[in-house]
Symmetry: C2
Subunit: 243 residues, 2 copies
C-alpha cells in the first residue's frame, strides 16, 4: 500500500488516497483516537471519483462515531482496466433496460458473478494491510452495495463481524444460496421505490439470510434517497456491534 496524497477534512478526519498494487483506494481515519479504531469497509457500485461525495459523507459520519473507513475501486470501474465479458454484460443490460424488457438471469450472472469473484480477494487483501496499520484495529464491518459482494465477503471473511447491506443492485440466483450461510448480524437498507431494484428479490434475499439477528429498514424514495435518519440508524447498528 502506497499513500499518494493526504488532506484533513472538517472535523479533523484524515483522508488519504492510496494504491494497493494497481488498485486505487481511500482511507479515512478519525481525528484523535486513543485506541486503534474499529474499521468499516465502504462498499459502493464502482467509480470512486463519481462516488466520492457520498463515500466521504459516509466516512465522516463513521469517523465521528470513532471508526476508520476505507474503500477501493471495483474491478472494471473508474480508472481500472475493463474486461470484455463485463463490457458485454453492461451493454446487454443497457439494451434490455432501454427496451423495457425484463433483465434475465444470464445478464445478471454475467454482470455480477465475475465482479464478485475478482473483487472479494482484493477487499480481503485491503483488510490484511489496513489491520496492520498502527491506528486501525478490529472489529470490522462492511457497509453498502454491491450487495452480492457484501454477501460473499461476509461469508468467506471471518474478520468481518457485522454488515449493513444496501439492497439496490441485481442479485444472481446463486447468491440466495450463499445468503443462507451468512451468520453475522445484518442491517439491510431497502429503498422502497428504487427504480433499478427488484423489491421482491430484496425481500426474498432478506428472508434467505441465515443470521440470527437481521433487520430490514425500508424507506420511501429512490436509489440515492436514503433519509438521514436511516443513515443514523445504520451507524447505531455498527456502534452496537463493533464498539
Amino acid at each position: 500500500m502506497h499513500f499518494t496524497s493526504e488532506q484533513r477534512l472538517d472535523g479533523g478526519v484524515l483522508e488519504r488516497e492510496f494504491t494497493l498494487g494497481e488498485i486505487p483506494g481511500i482511507l479515512w481515519t478519525p481525528a484523535a483516537a486513543s485506541a486503534p479504531a474499529p474499521l468499516i469497509l465502504l462498499g459502493h457500485p464502482g467509480g470512486l471519483r463519481t462516488m466520492y461525495p457520498r463515500l466521504a459523507a459516509r466516512a465522516r459520519h463513521a469517523a465521528a462515531d470513532g471508526f476508520a473507513a476505507a474503500a477501493i475501486e471495483l474491478p472494471g470501474s473508474g480508472e481500472r482496466p475493463r474486461w470484455a465479458a463485463a463490457e458485454r454484460a453492461r451493454a446487454d443490460l443497457r439494451r434490455v433496460l432501454e427496451a423495457g424488457e425484463p433483465v434475465g438471469d444470464e445478464i445478471i450472472d454475467a454482470l455480477i458473478l465475475p465482479l464478485v469473484e475478482k473483487a472479494v480477494p482484493e477487499w480481503q487483501a485491503l483488510l490484511d494491510v489496513l489491520l496492520s496499520l498502527p491506528g486501525i484495529g478490529g472489529p470490522v464491518g462492511y457497509s453498502g452495495g454491491v450487495i452480492s459482494l457484501g454477501v460473499r465477503l461476509v461469508v468467506v471473511e471471518p474478520r468481518i463481524s457485522a454488515a449493513v447491506l444496501f439492497a439496490g443492485s441485481f442479485v444472481p440466483r446463486a447468491m440466495f444460496e450463499e445468503a443462507r450461510q451468512v451468520a453475522i448480524p445484518l442491517h439491510v437498507l431497502l429503498q422502497w421505490d428504487d427504480e433499478g431494484n427488484d423489491r421482491q428479490a430484496a425481500l426474498d434475499l432478506f428472508d434467505a439470510f441465515g443470521s440470527k439477528e437481521k433487520t430490514l429498514h425500508a424507506n420511501l424514495g429512490g436509489h440515492t434517497g436514503v433519509p438521514q435518519f436511516a443513515g443514523d440508524a445504520a451507524a447505531q447498528f455498527f456502534t452496537r456491534h463493533l464498539k
Copy 2:
C-alpha cells in the same frame, strides 16, 4: 375521568389507573416535567391486565424520553362487556386456526371492523380528557396495534401527528383503502416470523400508506419478540417527530 389509584414506579414515573365512563385505563406521566409533556397513546390487542407488564415497560421507556403515555381497555376485552357478534367471530377464528384452514375475509371483517368502529371514538374521548389535564400537552403519537385501529384513528383524528404501528394482527381489506388516506409520518414494526401474522399483507399495507415519510423495520422473531434496539428506534422516531 376518575382516578382510582396511583403509584410511583422506578424512576419516579407516576402511574394512575382511571375510569373513563365505564372504560378502565392507565395513565403514566414522567417524574419531573417543566413543560406539558407530549403524549403517546399505547395501542394493544385488548386485555389491560394481561398486557400490563409490556404496556408499563413501553410507558416507562416513553416517560424516560419525556412523554406521557396512556392506554384504555378495548371494547369486549378485559372486564368490559362482550358482545355476541365479536364472540362468534373469535370462536370462528379459533376453529379455522385449529383446523389449519386459511382465515377468510368474513372472519377478519367480523373480528376487526366492529372493534375499530367502537374503539375509535373512545380513544378520541380519551384524548379530549388527557389534553385538558395540566401536565399533558401535544403533540400526540399513537403506538402499537391493533394496526387497523391505529390506521382509522390517525385518519380521523388530526391531533395525532406521528404513529408507530405494529404489523401483527389481521387486516380487513377495507383498511387498505383507508391506509392510502394516512398522511402523517409512520414507523411500522414487522416481526418477520410472526406466527399469527400474514407477512405479505403487512408489506402490502405498508405499500398502501399514503404518508410521505414511512419506514418499515422488520426484525427476526415472533409476535412478542421485538428486539430492544427496535423499541429504541421506535422511541427515536417519536422523539424526532413529537419533540
